[in-house]
């Protein structure tokens, strides 16, 4: 098991970061009925950890017995039936899923699963009718239709289930949903907090951490706790005992993108554009999301760029990122951005150096 999973706090009391939020949540569910919740915050800040601990708080240890299922739903959509396949995680008391994996058919998923949950309500030991918890990840990636249908079902079935929504940015969640939930913002942990967690893990694993090494890991992690722990473990495999100036291995796809960036800087021609396309294909095959590719590519290009051009390049990156979200095939837009960059950069070079 990865350290990330191994040292994930199981209960709200054991939380190492966001202790205050954890305590508040605990009070919320022990004292009264729980409202719908919306957790938002940057990636690697501990949203999922809190959610899982919260569910455990609600239902006790039984919530930890989960099974992974690949389920198929048959949805009746007017004239035809659609088969939807999705992976779900479920225990007796909760179901967790990523509705946005269903692509543009996500709206059916949300409705269908909530209806189904409403049908078989669990009854607790005292004979009271209980409720189930539905955890929806990546709500910000849901289409607008899906969010609308989510809002409706939320109202209709609120007696039967509680929704816990989880997303990175609440700005992409519709106002209507936000106002029906208790919003919980989870900040990215500070570097000191990350260092504290790393040292905690080091102690548990019986490792000696040289001074400054944990701080470097924290700094490299871009304030993502998950990332910090993952690279901590990688370093452990690479070289132990640690030295304080040990290299922290970067993610392979990030290296690959910086390679692409230097390719682009070296030559600007249709031929090179074609080579770049092939490299981007390789990233896509390995399932790196296109938005992240574009973002990272821009970051790498900006590092090497003359300040004069930065503004224009950023403008075009934003332009193509937007179009990428509207369109279907990301590669067209990434390629258009690369071509535009090459075109700008080449004319800049000609203007400067003749």
């Amino acid at each position: 098991m990865l350290w990330v999973d191994k040292y994930r706090p199981k209960t709200l009391d054991h939380a190492l970061v966001h202790e205050d939020v954890a305590q508040n949540l605990k009070k919320l569910v022990t004292e009264q009925d729980c409202p719908h919740l919306l957790f938002y915050g940057p990636s690697g800040s501990g949203k999922k950890t809190l959610i899982m601990a919260l569910i455990r708080q609600m239902f006790g240890a039984s919530a930890e017995k989960v099974k992974v299922e690949n389920r198929t739903w048959k949805v009746d959509a007017g004239s035809r039936t659609i088969d939807l396949e999705l992976t779900t995680l479920s225990s007796t008391n909760h179901v967790e899923l990523n509705p946005s994996d269903a692509g543009f058919q996500d709206r059916y998923i949300v409705q269908e699963i909530i209806k189904e949950m409403a049908k078989n309500r669990p009854i607790d030991t005292k004979g009271r009718k209980g409720y189930k918890v539905l955890v929806l990840n990546e709500v910000d990636k849901l289409s607008r239709e899906a969010q609308n249908s989510l809002r409706r079902t939320m109202e209709k079935y609120s007696a039967y289930c509680r929704l816990i929504l989880c997303c990175n940015s609440s700005s992409k969640v519709s106002e209507a949903i936000r106002s029906r939930c208790l919003n919980v913002r989870i900040n990215a942990p500070s570097e000191e907090q990350i260092v504290k967690v790393l040292e905690f893990i080091g102690k548990k694993e019986g490792l000696h951490i040289p001074s400054g090494f944990a701080a470097r890991l924290a700094e490299k992690s871009n304030r993502s706790l998950r990332r910090a722990i993952l690279s901590f473990e990688t370093c452990r495999v690479q070289q132990y005992p640690f030295t304080s100036n040990q290299t922290i291995p970067p993610m392979d796809w990030e290296e690959y993108i910086s390679e692409i960036a230097s390719d682009i800087m070296k030559e600007q021609s249709p031929k090179r554009l074609y080579q770049v396309r092939l490299k981007i294909y390789e990233l896509l095959v390995n399932c790196i999301p296109p938005e992240i590719i574009l973002k990272r590519l821009l970051y790498e290009l900006l590092r090497k760029l003359d300040a004069e051009l930065k503004h224009e390049v950023c403008h075009w990156a934003a332009y193509y990122e937007h179009r990428m979200r509207l369109g279907q095939k990301a590669i067209f837009h990434i390629e258009a951005f690369v071509a535009k960059f090459m075109s700008i950069y080449k004319s800049f070079l000609i203007a400067t150096f003749g």
């Binding site: 999973d5 899982m52 989960v66 992974v68 473990e233 993610m251 390789e282 390995n286 590669i331 390629e335």
Partner: protein, 597 residues
Amino acid sequence: MGKKRNKVVVLSSSDDDERHRHRHRSLSSTRPPSTRSKFSSSTVPRPNANPSRSKKPRLSDSTSFLFKDDTSDWDEIKVFCEDFDDTPIGFKVSDGSGESNQKELWVDKYKPHSLEELAVHKKKIEEVKLWFEERLGSSKDENTSKVIVITGQAGVGKSATVHAIACHFGARLCEWNTPTPIIWQEHLHNSSAGLRYMSKLDEFEYFVERVRKYGLIPPTENMESKESIILLIDDLPVTNGKLAFERLRNSLYLLVRSVQIPTAILVTNYGEADSGDHTTQYLEELQSSLENAGACKVAFNPITHNSTKKILSRICRLEQCKVSVDQIDLIAKASGGDIRHAIASLQFFCVKPSLAHPISSPNRPIMDKGFPLDFGRDETLSLFHALGKFLHNKRETENVLESVGDEFSVQERLARLPLKMDAPEKILCQAHGQARPIVDFLNENVLDFLSEEAIDDAWTVASYLGDVDLLLGTFRGMLARRNEAENVLQSAAASVAVRGVLFGNHHPMPSRWHVIRRPKLWQVEQLSLSNKKEMIKRRYDTCSGMSSSNFSVIATEYTPVFKWLGRGTHESLDSRIDMMSLDDQESVVSEDEIEDW
């Protein structure tokens, strides 16, 4: 053609029936009756048992065939029919010797009877003739195969060639005639009478079996002991599904292996454009299996433009109708190498003005302008041909229309020379292109056609293709309900894509040999989907189902770590990447390579 019962019987009103009965014989026999013998089973009604009933459909069909494209001119059709009735000429059985009568289809009337009359290329005729000569002359050597397979598109004279050659050698031509289809009522009647239904395939198998075992026994009445026989299988039974096809193939295979009489099997190739269905695949498979069995294969090409023209003008001379050279040229071009079609068109063309002179006169100028004639075939292009046109981007060397519209002068950098091709939309239409695949193909290949330095052009093209992607993405998920909008969007998107590429490629490469690649994007999409499933599964396995995470997190953070940690994931991922970069798929893909057009 005569088998179908066409609905257009309306043409002949009921009181015409008497007269039809008189005339049926002139229109009926398409081939010299002496050269045919029937091998149909007993369930088939004998054609001359009740002539007026069995022949009428054919008559009405032939008229409707002539007027198929021209349903609006009802008056003319009536005139045509009356005219038909007004000229009572008694006919003998037409043996095609050139009796001048207007009522026969010219296709039958001018059917070639000697090898010289054939429009097929001399070499091909020679090849087939030689083959038959060998087989007919010395039937001693048992090793040589007795089957020839002649392929070619419709109307290139496959049957005509075999008939002419049979005539030439004085051989009797025995033909497998597909039995008439049984309609449901008949079937009910038969089955109540205790007759079992036999499918056409069954009958064909039975026939082949018989021929293999016993050879053909010529009908006794006019038997000359020395007469040689050629077996002709013109009409293979239609097979539907794999099972039926296997049966057909097996029976043909056996036929090829063991038949003792020289046999010709004719296979009609359908155009590339129709290759959507499975029949073409089946036919190709069939041909190769026949060849494997030892059959000799001769492929007939479409009739050349010149020979079509020659034939047409000969017919014009014989019929004494005045058709200008241009018009003949046009008809020949429109026929696309289908001589039967060309002759039928010519007849139609000649019939029209003489019959309804006052009515059709306004039509004439349209024709003279070289407007596409209303009997032409639709021209089709293969997808690769169309893509080649777009990618090569042939343009005039200088602007001819320069000083025409000064008020709309375009900026220097936006101006392009006129295209050396039809409107792109027309080409798209001819290629039956779907927007999505066309865009993918263009995107994959266009960079090869840009000149070294033209990165600005690359950007223009890329941004247009991006626009297309947006257009195609607009209504996703709501396709079912908005078919109309979808169609418009599709064509608009295709048009934007093609014009974008044509406009953007301002400095095209000097033309040279290029291979059109299949879009790698398709492969990438599939691979990434399967990878995604695998990654999710692995993630769940390792965390033993404790939590799910965003997929992007799995891909960008967990997977690289797994790789570092080398938890058995290493090999599978790397091998996948290797597979990607091997590019083995690529070379297989396009045999349709594109040269300079």
